[in-house]
Amino acid sequence: MKNEEALAVQNLRVNYKIYRGILKVLDGINLTVKRGEKIGLVGETGCGKTTTLKAIMGILAGNAILSSGRVTVNGKVVLQRSAHHMVRKSAKRVAMIFQDPTASLNPVFTIGEQMELVVRYAANRSSSAREAAVNALRLAQLPDAERIHTNFPFQLSGGMRQRVCIAMALAAEPNIILADEPTTNLDVTIQDQVLKLLKRLCDEQELALVLVTHSLGVARETCDRIYVMYAGTIVEYASSQNIFENPYHPYTRGLLAALPRLTGEGIAEGIEGRIPDYLNPPQGCRFAPRCEHATEKCFSTKPGFYEAEDGHFVSCFLYETERGVASDVSHSSDTES
């Protein structure tokens, strides 16, 4: 049970069509999450974290184009793009917590009304919707759940709103929770509480968690495994411990170095430059233009994944020789188009 795959994303490519052309945002994302596993998806602003989650949930924006990829949830394919046809099903037993708790609650309905809808349609319970909603609120450690049930979103503080969102996710009775930067807009003390809550709930209910965040620290404290994303690509993934103790990819290293430490070691150099323009992303490694180790090859060829250590994969030619080609973009049934 425990090692079963709850969620698998294979070679996901998502583009956005805008007037200037096509933004090639996601460039072959692969990730897997096992039952009860908590993974972190870490990356800076605009690297495509939200897009990945939306693709999994099947709620991509209208101008999004899925050019390839497959998403399997609980063993069922919910999204697949192949040369000839496209599969789209709504994913069951997946819940998402959005980045901005204010924007993810309907401002003109009470918390109760919104939660009951979720209970009714996501958890398929129509008889005791109200109790279930209030229960979920309690689970999310909201004091005075009965009152909050009748409140409108604007009557709650930011922290409470985020807990409501968590409660709503729980009310859907999922086995996978996708959390999109659930704590970015919160203070550290609240963030701490929310993360602990989320972690506890996942452990208690054996939920798989995909935690999207830009804070390496948050990911480390919550997750078992971490995927580091850069400009629509996964550059490195490994267990939390490995990533922080032994980062390989120049990007991960740069990122970690730029973090100010509580122990006070001064501020290192940041990484020069900016995230590339998605209209014309670099041909080869997307990080190449900012990478101090970049070679000509990096500019022309996309690196595959190389296993630098056990279970520690890096997508960088620097490690090509070390352990040979490892798990690559391997799901050959998908076509690139």
Partner: protein
């Protein structure tokens, strides 16, 4: 701040503004040249009679005093005398206002109901041919002035497809119902004159439609835009991901937050509607307050002009308050005193 308190505050403020309005139009109408007393009495009246009337109308007093005299009359419900007919204006207005209220109420209804529903459906089926048709229609609706609609309707319905009458309040020969409210439809219904009520209703359909086209188009456009916009909001994405059916989303979850914008701009549409009533009543020869106003304007009937403008100002203010209340109802932030609505 509770809803009642909010409404009271709104009303008190509106009354203040209306006082300002009364000063504004009184001043404007009193600084223009011309001798109202002479105009009232006609060319052959002896000078002494004109002089007497001038006194009676307080024209010999300074402007400020005149304003307060006028205002105190106004407070007593006396709007003065029409210079043209020497009849109390209050009486004229009692006669014409109900007719206009019928038209305007029906237009507002058309505007809201047709507009919002078209917009809703257009958003629901956005991208389909239906959406395309609605968008073209609403653009046409917006750029075509009400009086042009009125003329087109007259052309279409009175001659090509003569199913609607194009002039007046009821068919000549049919007696008006006994006066209770002055609104034929309501009076007809109250007194059991259903034929008259239906006939009167039949008469206001075209003018009301002509009046409401622009507003309805605008409402459709705004509703559509606002719904399409909100459809990408996280809170809609969320419920959609949780499997809430589309129908429910479009009828409720998406519609309600999207109504605030179109209803807010309806205040402007109502302003346009009240203004356009002046032209539309003219085209349909509809004996309402606006046509009375036009007559007054063409004949420089000072006090009648002031009264009509003031009445319309009051009507517009009331419409605004009503719209605010509807918005407060839709948007709990306004109702319960959170942030102001967007």
């Amino acid at each position: 701040m509770s809803l009642t308190k909010y409404i009271i505050k709104r009303i008190v403020y509106s009354i203040g503004v209306l006082f300002g309005v009364s000063i504004l139009i009184f001043v404007i109408s009193n600084i223009v040249p011309g001798d109202p007393a002479r105009m009232a009495l006609g060319p052959r009246a002896p000078e002494w009679a004109v002089e007497d009337l001038r006194k009676e109308m307080n024209l010999d007093k300074p402007l400020v005093e005149r304003y307060f005299l006028w205002l105190s009359d106004l407070m007593r419900g006396d709007l003065g005398e029409s210079l043209r007919s020497r009849r109390p204006i209050t009486k004229d207005i009692a006669e014409y206002l109900p007719a206009s209220i019928e038209i305007i109420a029906l237009s507002a209804f058309f505007m809201a109901v047709i507009g919002i529903n078209l917009g809703r459906l257009s958003a629901r089926f956005s991208g389909t041919w239906f959406d395309g048709v609605v968008r073209i229609l609403s653009y046409t609706g917006i750029v075509t002035p009400a009086f042009v609609w009125a003329i087109l309707f007259v052309l279409l319905f009175s001659y090509l497809i003569p199913i609607f009458p194009t002039t007046g309040r009821i068919t000549p020969g049919l007696a008006a119902p006994p006066r209770i409210t002055g609104m034929y439809i309501i009076d007809g219904l109250l007194t059991g004159n259903f034929r008259v009520a239906l006939n009167a209703f039949w008469h206001i359909v075209l003018p009301s439609l002509a009046l409401s086209m622009g507003g309805a188009a605008q409402a459709a456009r705004m509703t559509r835009a606002s719904m399409v916009d909100n459809a990408e909001k996280d809170y809609i994405l969320a419920v959609r991901a949780y499997g809430v059916p589309n129908k429910l989303i479009y009828r409720r979850l998406l519609l309600k937050p999207s109504l605030v914008a179109p209803i807010s701009i309806m205040a402007l549409d109502i302003a346009a509607l009240l203004g356009n009533a002046f032209l539309v009543e003219l085209v349909f020869l509809y004996p309402g307050i606006s046509r009375y106003g036009v007559e007054a304007m063409l004949n420089k009937d000072l006090f009648a002009i002031i009264s009509v403008v003031l009445i319309i100002g009051i009507g517009y203010t009331i419409a605004n308050v009503v719209i605010d209340v509807i918005i407060a109802h839709l948007d709990p932030r306004v109702r319960l005193g959170g942030a102001k609505s967007a």
